[in-house]
Symmetry: C2
Subunit: 328 residues, 2 copies
């Protein structure tokens, strides 16, 4: 099956399960950006992020006997919740390996969705892969990778089908589509969907400073790793480096990456709160931040941005409002 056929097949499986999120806008955001800003709010997706799409696509693609044994995922939180809910909806067990320093809300939610959660200490160098391999072997589970997995990319790509459809309805033939990017599952999935359905729309990865591995990899043409692997506010999109499957797709189809500061992400969170009435997490706000605060790095009358997730602890959200909630 071709990539776009896999995405269309994932969309068919997701129908009636994933939410069809809208494209939102605000004249106040347009004024800041100097162009029309269209927001795809995947924070409104089940489990509060786009990751449910990929999780459901992957779990639903397994044959019954394999699926019944259960699934395993490594995740700092959003992929964890997406896989946990998808597994629960298929009535199969889910075991999730999470870093102990993941946001507490994400750990609690993953457990509440019925998954078994095992924590590891990434800062102390505990090996997630060894722990996972051992658990996988003991229980004969199927690993659902967070991004370097064709069915996951296909699931995330359904976001791109919807963007293409809604852009066409609004007469938007050419625009940058800014995507919050960690390992590249959402970015590569959207890029593949746009290639087939809206070739005038160009996906561009957006990242936080110090975790700009995809931007640097695209610029150099080769995979580059981050030196830090944890500690940033944008936990949802922090990965060691682009994926072996996602990077060639991004290199072929994406425009240059965009990099914003954590403060700019917090500012964008406050603007999403005040102007769109949406809750974004820091990593979920980097694309909006790029649209608002890097206007010179794009062209055209329209820009489309994803808000990839909204799973943020209260203290971080309050920090965004304390600094930028006046919306002056």
């Amino acid at each position: 099956m071709s990539d776009i056929d896999m995405i269309r097949a994932a969309a068919a499986r997701l129908k009636g399960h994933a939410r069809r999120t809208p494209l939102l806008s605000s004249p106040f955001l347009d004024r800041i950006a100097g162009r029309r800003v269209w927001v795809k709010p995947e924070c409104l997706q089940h489990t509060g992020s786009f990751k449910y799409r990929g999780g459901y696509a992957a779990v639903s693609a397994l044959d019954n006997a394999t699926r019944a044994r259960g699934v395993l995922a490594f995740s700092s939180g959003n992929h964890a919740q997406g896989v946990a809910l998808a597994a629960a909806q298929h009535d199969v067990p889910a075991l999730i390996v999470m870093p102990a320093d993941a946001p507490s809300m994400k750990i609690a939610n993953t457990r509440a969705l019925g998954a078994e959660v095992v924590l590891y200490d990434r800062v102390a160098g505990e090996s997630r892969d060894e722990l996972g391999a051992q658990l996988k072997a003991e229980r004969n589970l199927t690993l659902i990778r967070p991004y370097d997995e064709p069915q996951v990319i296909a699931g995330q790509g359904t976001t791109g089908l919807e963007i293409a459809e809604d852009a066409a309805l609004r007469g938007i033939a050419r625009a940058d589509v800014l995507v919050c990017c960690g390992g590249g599952g959402l970015t590569s999935g959207i890029a593949l969907a746009l290639e087939a359905e809206a070739p005038g729309l160009t996906a561009r990865p957006c990242e936080p400073e110090e975790f700009d591995d995809v931007t640097r990899s695209l610029a150099s043409g080769e995979i580059r790793a981050n030196t830090r692997i944890s500690g940033g506010l944008c936990d949802a999109i922090i990965t060691p480096q682009p994926g072996d499957i996602t990077f060639p797709i991004m290199r072929r189809l994406c425009g240059p990456g965009l990099v914003v500061s954590e403060e700019e992400a917090l500012h964008a969170m406050a603007l999403a709160w005040g102007r769109l009435k949406l809750v974004a997490e820091p990593g979920g706000a980097v694309a909006l931040a790029a649209a608002l605060f890097r206007p010179d790095q794009m062209t055209g009358d329209d820009v489309i941005v994803t808000i990839s997730g909204g799973n943020v602890d209260a203290n971080v959200f309050q920090r965004a409002l304390s600094s930028y909630g006046g919306l002056e």
Copy 2:
């Protein structure tokens, strides 16, 4: 034209202008309420509240010559923004009379949407009506009342058409529909739409303590006024008493009112933030609070609630998160 025909005509005029908001849910909210909770997020409507529907319906219903002279509204904020945007979209002037103690974000937004704003001091007893009558006469403006106005009720009633449609898609034949209620424009509009389209769904007004005029009026069968007219956190839905047009509709069609505390509204705001990734204002959260914290006052497996708006200042939102953002 019958009431439902007016609502359908308003829906036709609003098509392509108002956002078609979804019905959202969260397993975490269902667990608290002990039943399935369906949320109609009108905070995602243009201008951050359902009031845009009524404002647009009323402005679009005027004949061209009348509309061209401009419109006038009295409002603590949400009706102001709805009328301001509707007037701007019709390229006609809007003059908005607002209480000086309205949330600063609402005053600023109304101005930014192009309206001329005149403030009055309601606490000192300055007469809004005298001020309005004088401005209306001087400029030959058309007054758009916030709720006791058939075209405004028809516009708000389009929310009920959408609820009826989405409930039918989910097989919900019987349920209470909890509506954040001030003067009763949204409540009576939804009640009329449900009467025609989903007679098993019953609209019920929800109010904050000390401002429960509609609940007391329904219980007594006669219009009862509030003793306080300002000062509560739920500014969006504080009105002196139910309207002369809205009250008979509510008396004929609505179930009993529900009353929650300001603290319960703040708690519901935090849950909407954490579980739905939505920004609700205190007055916009009273229906969700009633669904979550008054489960014994309703029956059935499903309850549908409106979040009527999300225009809240940062300090109030931070108070909700400080108290209830842990979601424990």
